[in-house]
Symmetry: C2
Subunit: 284 residues, 2 copies
């Protein structure tokens, strides 16, 4: 998906909000904004939003001098993770359809987002997703393709979504799962360190995508990752950034699991902002 | 009030949304955005938001070649005006405190805004204001100063707010009222033509501010307007744009009536977005 004109105010908003969240100085905030505006003016409009986001957040890293500007935020949510895990694993244990409840959990974990999302109330919004209707619900296709697959590529999104991903991965225990994280910190996206904190390494092979774009933009990924992807029987793609990067992918069985967090993606999916998506993009 | 960094994404959003609302061509929309971004980069941050808004909307007028890009939108709301007037005049007629209900109507009319406001549902949002608690409620000061005043300057905001203003002005019938509109079309702000459509000319003297900034920025106003303002005993200032332009005014009894429509103004007033304001700024 390319950047729409409507994405531009959102990038500017991210540049301003990042300055505030990271308690930068006034001059740093102004510099982040100025450099971001200049970048946007000259930006190739065919770029995907995650690519553009990566560039904006590179500016933020450069000006704040922080390689991982959202570290404190991630630490906060990583600390909450075990409690989330316990609570929602409990819901899976009590449910009639464990797999479906685990899918719901994985989508619910997607609400915490310091990129595109506006304000959110993590606990409340997660609970909401647990009972919300799906705008796309390709569960039958999921079960069918899952039953035929041996290897599954799981494209991670954010922290503490990682803890919710663990819940879903635990329901897929007979599969050979590769959990893909970003190669360097970007916003609150999961890195190898975050995957380890969530205990994913005990149940899946954890690999890096080869890039730090907040979405799996294939042209930016490593050859190694691309090979792994090619060899996988099916893909679970978490979150909006991965959807933006991969919605037009061909030749793979991909299941997108996300909450539509902005008007552009909602419109692209023909749903409303806030809707939850469990969408199949057919392969063969 | 100066432009805060948080105002910048909003200006960019207005530039993009205006392009969509006005059904410009794709290349016009891109040009509006590009020129707006360049303007913002070089913009004096001490400018008030209405000044900046005027500059952004000048770009829109220039590129679309339309002197009054929002004419159709204003026509639509001007057509709804008489119905609004009838409905809410009826509420004043039935109320125990006519003046207070009329003030509420005047604030309720402030919800229709194609500048800073996000999405709105005019009828629903107007009704909400009619029963909402006030975040500031300087009604006693208003009655006191009104009783001592002979001349009143009424700074208009938008269409169809004009019809709601008429309801309030009709309750101030023993005063000499000057109703101030913009000197040229800007967004859905009221002009002389709109004041006439709402029938304000029958109950007040209608004058222009001397500028088309979407807020009464004194440095941009005509000498004639400034003299009228100086000679007025008190001022009613409608809407966010006028608040942004005049919140630090000294030496005048001003009553701000508005709905707080964005985070920046809400924070400045120490209220929440969506709160309604009836606030006195003391003069002598």
């Amino acid at each position: 998906m390319k950047c729409y004109l409507e994405c531009i105010p959102c990038f500017v908003k991210q540049a301003v909000e990042a300055g505030n969240i990271l308690s930068s100085t006034a001059s740093q905030r102004e510099e982040i904004l100025q450099k971001s505006l200049k970048l946007i003016i000259n930006m190739d409009r065919n770029m995907t939003p995650p690519e553009a986001g990566m560039k904006i957040h590179s500016i933020i890293k450069f000006i704040t001098g922080k390689k991982d500007p959202y570290k404190e935020i991630k630490d906060y949510y990583n600390n909450l993770g075990p409690e989330f895990y316990k609570k929602y694993k409990g819901k899976v244990n009590k449910s009639k359809d464990r797999l479906l409840t685990a899918v719901r959990c994985a989508i619910a974990g997607n609400v915490v987002d310091f990129g595109v999302a506006g304000e959110f109330d993590a606990e409340k919004d997660i609970e909401k997703v647990m009972t919300q209707d799906f705008a796309y619900f390709d569960y039958d296709a999921f079960k069918k393709i899952l039953s035929k697959s041996r290897s599954l590529l799981y494209l991670a999104d954010n922290v503490p979504e990682t803890f919710f991903d663990r819940i879903l991965i635990e329901e897929l225990e007979d599969k050979e799962i590769t959990y893909v994280v970003k190669s360097a910190p970007i916003i609150n996206d999961a890195t190898v360190e975050d995957a380890l904190i969530a205990g994913i390494d005990g149940i899946a092979r954890v690999v890096e995508s080869g890039s730090c774009a907040p979405g799996t933009v294939l042209s930016l990924c490593s050859a190694e990752f691309l090979r792994t992807m090619k060899e996988s029987d099916m893909v679970i793609s978490k979150g909006q950034g991965n959807y933006e990067a991969l919605e037009d992918i061909k030749g793979k069985d991909v299941f997108f699991m996300l909450k539509a967090k902005c008007k552009v993606v909602a419109k692209h999916l023909n749903v409303k902002v806030g809707d939850i998506i469990f969408k199949y993009k057919g392969g063969k």
